[in-house]
Subunit: 338 residues, 2 copies
Amino acid sequence: MSAPDHAPSPQLFFETINAFQKSAALKAAIDLALFAAIGNEPATSAELAARCQCPERGVRILADNLTILGFLTKDGATYALTQSSAIFLVPSSPAYMGAAVNFLLAPSLTEAFTDLASTIRRGRLHTTEHGTTAPDHPAWVEFARAMGPMMAPTSQGAAELVTLDPSRDTRVLDISASHGAYGIAVARKNPRAHLVALDWEAVLAVTTENAQAAGIADRFSKITGDAFSVDLGSDYDAVLVPNFLHHFNAEVCTRFLQKVHAALRPGGQVVIVEFVPNEDRITPPPAASFSLVMLGTTPEGDAYTFAQYQQMLAAAGFRDASLHPLPPTMQSAVLAVA
Amino acid sequence: MSAPDHAPSPQLFFETINAFQKSAALKAAIDLALFAAIGNEPATSAELAARCQCPERGVRILADNLTILGFLTKDGATYALTQSSAIFLVPSSPAYMGAAVNFLLAPSLTEAFTDLASTIRRGRLHTTEHGTTAPDHPAWVEFARAMGPMMAPTSQGAAELVTLDPSRDTRVLDISASHGAYGIAVARKNPRAHLVALDWEAVLAVTTENAQAAGIADRFSKITGDAFSVDLGSDYDAVLVPNFLHHFNAEVCTRFLQKVHAALRPGGQVVIVEFVPNEDRITPPPAASFSLVMLGTTPEGDAYTFAQYQQMLAAAGFRDASLHPLPPTMQSAVLAVA
């Protein structure tokens, strides 16, 4: 049961209808490098306007709205960064993730939400047939470039769950490797692990760059193409399936997990990383609302519950499925044994 | 000073960047008449899908997300309306305001937010020169048709503040009359008041319909055209200026208020209705964030504070400016005497 309704009010309606303006304001701040312009030196709107070389009116209105949204603080007429904004939205910060807007607000993604009613009514996307599941969809190159930093905490948490034998050479397959964060985190933690990254060709160029930068290029190889039809190889100790299954329906996921099972050594691990809502499908909100992204951008994807992953895994031949939240992120790992 | 920052987290960034999807989900629910489909009969997603004649997946994901957003409740697998959704989002309800999406999410408005950084950087709108302040802008016809119900509580509250002499014929001018809600509320409360509505010609067709429906057609006349250049007439007992001044800069507002002053009898009232943020410009959020709408859609508009209205009114020759919040709405009335 959700929170009770208070005094009837159209306020929530008004606020939700205008919610798109919040995305627009945050994107504008990133585009204008406003967070960098504040940095460690709190400033008035006039000072900020000078630093950004913009007229003051727009800077003032934007800064006030960023304060309302929680990205800045305002003391008198002086704006400062919140701790989170300093960490995540200043480009010189190691944890900077502002570039994620290049993927999350790319036209191919936002356009998918312009007529969601049509998508729901017809049971197929109102924009394209396959959405982001189309072969070699360019969004995934942008994703690989833009989303890596955002995945750092999740990939660290997931890597902790991968248990490889340190006394021998091991093999790890990273499905839809993208930025490579998941596989690279495992490879860095396990010096005798060889990493195989699978993705579209243009995406693997980014993965390769990142593997080189991480110093694991000599333990890195690639499989190019469609995960459903390529030969995955065999005798893996672990197969990582991060943020991949949510794009497909449960039957397709199960069939794919059978293929993963066949590629693993007996006793090998599958490590699925996902937004996993509770069985009520409405909590916690950040995980549960991911279903909407899949509704808008994929023909049949979803945010699956742990019970659904248990079913898929069992049907694919896995045993001992377990759920592992990855705080402070909103994602979870689902592990099972081949 | 804003709320303190808690443990650093990118969650707010992620949620705000995706906020546009909330607007899309709510719009889809209105387009699909999902709230009407639930009505007084709570239903599962399968039942709702049958009622809406849509495949179930999309209806389920949408209903879960509407629950997360607070528009529905979910008990087990059964969705029901909140009290506010029943009142404001079911078309058969007298307080229905779902049609407001036709204005608030019209392409001419949403497009204004696709490149807010450019608007801020250049100090002029990235879409059009005058935004919604252009002569005869078609958005105002949509506004008049779509937004009247949303203005009902505000117009009732504002009408209470207009003090006309009941013992003689009086004259009331409604600037940018639109749906006419403000002037009509005053006219209905004051049987000897004659209402003059000023707006663009196409908009006044809607005003006239509404005046007829309200039974005040015999006490109603029109002034067509640009409020800044037309002859307003004279000897008014009250001039209503609802949601008009925020479109312009303070100098233009002051000049317009001088013109209003000249049109009033000595002792007559000006009644401004606006989103009036506190002097900190960041509270209350629903009023303060209106500045962002003006940044996106007008060359020089703003959400002015009461101190700013006091200045404008004094400069225009008014006395005794006073501020009157109009709960439960987020708007306020600013009154002054000629």
